[in-house]
């Protein structure tokens, strides 16, 4: 973890977050096996944004690449957080769904194809509200279809994080990988502040926000499988390992009883302090550190 690396290592590492979405996607593939599908020169862009005076982007902020990772077939779908906050529109949603469905078809035909989602998204793009919501529903069913045959890995690396409907998509994936800089939640802090007031939740309080939504907290809560530093090499290795590991015995979202019992066990009579880990180490029996594997969840589930 960050505290363990020297300043020299810190300066020399190759940041994953600082890479743009296309470079992040490309970096995961075995050298020269990647090719982009429906790229910017195909100009499959949002027809709705120009009508609202918003400049569209030629790839609609969604990058789809196919190739091999650790010698295994994979498709990587990356969202560009700089364009519309990575929001899901009709086109970007359809690109993601089609990529997952093609991977599912190939997997059914005996060519297992994993999917890696590089999520940097605030959820549904408000300018395309209903179409975006419909897209999220399709994305979730496509993930659930594919995960029977090959792992679907959600990576939440950057500070935009993963919110709204796309947090549900992350929730149904086989594995979630985060960095401490990443954030994961259903309602974003600004939304809660807007709805309930700044006394309830101060969205400008960064340490508060990260202590609740941040990768470290989500990992401690057992909602994330692997926590990695912002290091491209570590990220590549982690994704490769998870693809090699294959489908988990039980997916997180299938463990309804486990998560229901955890919520039931929560004492909401007093204010929760983010410094105290929910479902603490004692109940989770999880060691800390990078070498976390979802098998812990399964053990827990079977107990």
């Amino acid at each position: 973890m960050s505290s363990a690396i020297s300043s020299r290592e810190y300066l020399q590492r190759r940041s994953f977050i600082e890479l743009d979405a296309r470079t992040r996607a490309k970096s995961l593939f075995d050298s020269r096996t990647d090719r982009e599908l429906a790229g910017p020169f195909d100009r499959i862009e949002s027809p709705w944004l120009p009508l609202q005076g918003v400049t569209p982007q030629a790839d609609d902020g969604c990058i789809v690449m196919r190739g091999t990772i650790g010698g295994r077939q994979a498709v990587v779908i990356a969202f560009d957080g700089a364009f519309q906050g990575g929001g899901i529109g009709e086109v970007s949603g359809a690109k993601l769904t089609s990529a997952l469905d093609l991977a599912c078809r190939d997997s059914q035909e005996g060519k297992p194809t994993s999917a890696v989602l590089l999520l940097e998204t605030g959820g549904v793009r408000l300018q395309e509200a209903n179409l975006g919501l419909a897209a999220v529903a399709e994305i979730i069913s496509s993930i659930i279809a594919l995960r029977q045959y090959a792992p679907v890995i959600s990576v939440i690396a950057g500070p935009i994080g993963c919110f709204g409907g796309m947090s549900l998509a992350a929730g149904v994936s086989s594995y979630i990988v985060m960095t401490p800089e990443g954030r994961l939640g259903l309602n974003g802090p600004e939304v809660i502040e807007e709805e309930s007031g700044v006394e309830e939740f101060d969205a400008s309080d960064r340490s508060l926000i990260w202590s609740i939504y941040g990768g470290q907290q989500r990992y401690n809560q057992g909602l994330v499988d692997v926590l990695v530093d912002d290091d491209a090499n570590q990220m590549i290795e982690t994704v490769r390992d998870l693809i090699a590991q294959g489908i988990p015995e039980v997916h997180r979202s299938q463990q309804v009883d486990l998560y229901r019992s955890r919520i039931t066990a929560l004492d909401t009579s007093t204010q929760w302090d983010p410094a105290v880990v929910l479902w603490s180490a004692a109940s989770l029996a999880r060691p800390t550190g990078r070498d976390q594997r979802p098998t812990d969840d399964k053990k827990e589930h079977h107990q």
Binding site: F41, V54, T55, P56, Q57, A58, G61, A82, F83
Partner: protein, 97 residues
Amino acid sequence: MEQFEFNYPAKRKIPKRAHVGVVGSGDLEVLLEPIDSPTASVRIRTSVDGFKTTWKAVLDRFFGRYDGAVHIEINDAGATPGAVSLRLQQAVEASES
């Protein structure tokens, strides 16, 4: 959002297409493609209205030095003239590397 087009004479064929940038606040996306005729055309879509003369000045300056036969599409989200020039140079570099 405004859209406009500019045309310039060109002499040189360029080796390949290039895509750089992102339509993020204060930034822009450039798609640069080789064409067969000895001309250069630029299509701009910008979220900030009322800067056509500034765009023309930036592009006049760029094509004062660049002679590639290209079609360029720019999707802009409020980049400054300096940022536009840098992205254009980056696209040229990417198309010739």
